[in-house]
Amino acid sequence: MCPDREILSAYFDGEVSDPWARQIAEHVSGCGSCRAWLAGLDGTRRALAEERLLEWRAPMERVRRRILAHHPVERPRVSIWRRQVTLSVPVAGLAAALLLILGISLAVVSTRQDLGYIRITKAPAGGTEYQFAVPYDKVEALLKSVGGSDAAIESVMTIPKNVKLVPVGQPRMGKADEFPRKKP
């Protein structure tokens, strides 16, 4: 019994492994019908691989030369300002969002004072006390921002040597009304 044509085709392509390939070879050697069918396949392959290849390659080359004769390969120079960049819509949207964020960040950074911690206490007379806690590397910038380190006008007063001062509490500042003097 002859093998199926699909199996024979697979055998012809070398896709059937042993022991099946050996059995098919034994059958083909003794079967004229199968041998003739395989010979037909072989002829078709040779015709496709050699004769038809030569047929289309030559016309293809002629067409290519004709095209190149009319349209040179070198592209015309486009100004960098007129050059177009092709982007997918998600990428273009992402780029636009990044530009927007960049713009807002620049605006915020150019106007913002970088202070670490601030506590504000309102005094009864309308004054306000600010206590700042900032990282050490920001202290210089903070002092500079309030004129602490670069105030050009400086007066120096020298307290007499014999006067010994002792802290009695936290520094205080306010309107004179907030600190009444003792009556004699």
Binding site: G103, G148, T158, K161, G169, M173
Partner: protein, 173 residues
């Protein structure tokens, strides 16, 4: 889906961002120097800082020691006073600002460097204040604590700094 973007469009957007940023940083104006000087003088302020060391009971009118410094400045420009003592150094930095209502907002910073006599330990205290004041109104600063503070001992001297701000032009009249 794809879209085409002109490279000049991208560059234009970046340039616009850079220009907007530069505008935010600085705005240049062309002003006549004489007019600018007159404008400055019309807003100039005289800041007087009087330092006093008062006796413990504060009943005497005469302080143990006093000194005064008067400086001319403009709104937004600091004046700095330094007091040097044997074991203390005090900085008072005053920056007056003019408010819309014609009064002055005094932004002040007090810095106190103090060395404890017993253990030779250094201390540093820095405080900021913002106080709305009228012209001529007195503001007091007690860098080592206010009189009558808790824990104050009777024999200790008190140091106080008095700040007074008046318009420069009015003072000349």
């Amino acid at each position: 889906m794809r879209t085409r973007v002109h490279s000049c469009g991208i560059v234009s957007v970046l340039l616009a961002l850079a220009v907007a940023h530069a505008n935010g940083q600085a705005q240049g104006t062309d002003t006549d120097p004489k007019e600018a000087l007159q404008e400055l003088l019309s807003k100039a302020l005289t800041v007087t800082v009087s330092a006093r060391i008062l006796p413990p009971d504060q009943q005497e009118d005469t302080p143990v020691w006093n000194a005064e410094s008067t400086k001319l400045t403009i709104p937004g420009r600091s004046i700095k006073v330094r007091l040097d003592g044997d074991n203390v150094r005090i900085y008072l930095i005053c920056t007056p600002y003019l408010q819309d209502n014609g009064e002055v907002l005094l932004l002040a910073q007090g810095q106190v460097w103090f060395t404890e006599p017993q253990d030779n330990e250094n201390r540093y205290v820095s405080t900021f204040y913002s106080i709305p004041v009228s012209y001529g109104e007195k503001v007091l600063f007690f860098p080592l604590g206010a009189p009558g503070a808790e824990g104050q001992q009777k024999n200790h001297l008190n140091i106080e700094l008095e700040i007074k701000i008046v318009p420069y032009e009015k003072k000349q009249q």
